[in-house]
Amino acid sequence: MNGQVPTAATVLSAWDGMRCLFTRDLRLALRRRSDTFAALFFFVIVVSLFPLGIGPEPQLLRRMAAGVVWVAALLAAMLSLTRLFADDHQDGTLEQLLLSAAPLPLLVLAKMAAHWLVSGLLLALISPLLALQFDLPLEAVGVLLLSLLLGTPLLSLIGGIGAALTVGLRGGGVLLSLLVLPLYVPVIIFGSGAVEASVAKLGVTGHFSLLGAMLAVSLVLAPVAAAAALRISVE
């Protein structure tokens, strides 16, 4: 962190703490560009493997596109979530965060937001390209992009709870997938369901409303749960 850090005399408000942590995490992600892009390329590679495994029939690929992209997004999120708190735990930053005067759930929320920006958002932005490989109609590509924009924050929020629970554990990565993937079920159902509804010319508002509702609920509850989990993990 550079000159933005307040001196000891100033009191660190919650907002300052969040902004500070948010920009720090973004800066770290930019400095470790290869880590950030590794998850992105993983996403692209997994999606590209499906046509190779299943066959190139456009009919089949069009049916599967949304599901494949969403499953790959879930797996890519797993990859980057393991490090959401792990690095901070290793160098002791996490303990400083727990001791900070700013409310821990808000700090956790800032970390989750930074995580989404460098994982979920990037995945969502590259997804139209992949969707075109699967020959999705243009309208459905837009719906896929929107569903990912609404759904990937949920992956960071819910996954953050799992990351907080498994921080510092041996075999944390596999365990994290075991804990979090079942909780992602509603996200993938409504995320890929929106695209399928759009292809079938049914309304997509229902799916988007439910995704939005889940996002609103998790936005409030997930940081609190993750903060409690961090306090349990780091004693």
Binding site: T166, L179, P186
Partner: protein, 253 residues
């Protein structure tokens, strides 16, 4: 203490809980045995053959109670995990831990017997129907709870981390259930409902309810047994355990 008021924390003390579990265990076990016997006689001998499904329907005498217990135990587990977190009560967390393997077993039995029933009736071992899928996810949640607990060496920390996970899970269970339900449904509608009269012959219903009670008793007995082992293991250094174990050889023989 004021006479007449209840001391809610009386059985939070491990020695008392150990004694209580040991006291109720034989009753639950005996009831489980008797009720299973009665339920199987009603289910396999007395209940008539179903007009549509033939003999295959008889799997419900195992399938339905197991499915009920799988969901109920998850709620009970989350409840005790929550009590353990809120009151920082060791014994409640141990009870949650004792319930988990039984819950997972019930989920597995429900899935397995469902597959056995599905093959002759639907013609497929597995269909991606709402209830099957949410039961499968419930199994994953149980496995996650147990794996997280097993991965943390410090027992108290493990209790609290797994407890938090159980609470997160219990918030998610209805969301998962409804999302899977809207996603796809092919399962036959519920035959037993609290609102309308059951669409089922009386002996079938009796058999199923008796078996449900039997499963209930079995789960309580096994959970009590496992709770006793966990209590002994956790407090291995405590005086009460040495006392309890010191008396054991005379009783066991």
């Amino acid at each position: 203490m004021i006479p007449g008021s209840i001391n809610w924390f009386k059985y939070a003390a491990p020695p008392r809980l150990y004694a209580l579990a040991g006291m109720v265990l034989p009753w639950f076990a005996a009831l489980a045995g008797l009720l299973t016997l009665a339920g199987l006689v009603i289910g396999l001998v007395i209940a008539p053959t179903d007009a549509q499904q033939g003999e295959a329907y008889r799997i419900i005498f195992v399938h339905v109670p197991a499915a009920w217990m799988s969901m109920l135990i998850y709620l009970a587990m989350a409840f005790w995990a929550g009590i353990g977190l809120v009151f920082n009560a060791r014994s409640a967390a141990m009870l949650a831990l004792a319930l988990a393997p039984t819950g997972a077993l019930m989920t597995f039995i429900a899935l397995w017997t469902g597959a056995l029933w599905g093959k002759p009736t639907w013609g497929a071992w597995w269909v991606w129907d709402a209830r099957l899928t949410s039961e499968l996810i419930l199994l994953f949640l149980y496995i996650g709870f147990m794996s997280l607990h097993a991965a943390i060496d410090d027992a108290r920390r493990a209790d609290r981390a797994a407890g938090l996970l159980a609470l997160v899970g219990v918030v998610n269970v209805p969301i998962i259930y409804f999302s899977v339900k809207w996603w796809n449904t092919l399962h036959q509608g519920a035959s037993v409902s609290l609102i309308k009269a059951p669409s089922m012959a009386a002996p079938m219903l009796t058999g199923m309810l008796v078996m449900a009670l039997a499963f209930w008793m079995y789960c309580l007995a096994v959970a009590a047994m496992r709770l006793r082992v966990i209590l002994l293991e956790r407090d291995a250094q405590a005086a009460w355990v040495k006392q309890a174990l010191g008396k054991l050889p005379a009783v066991a023989r």
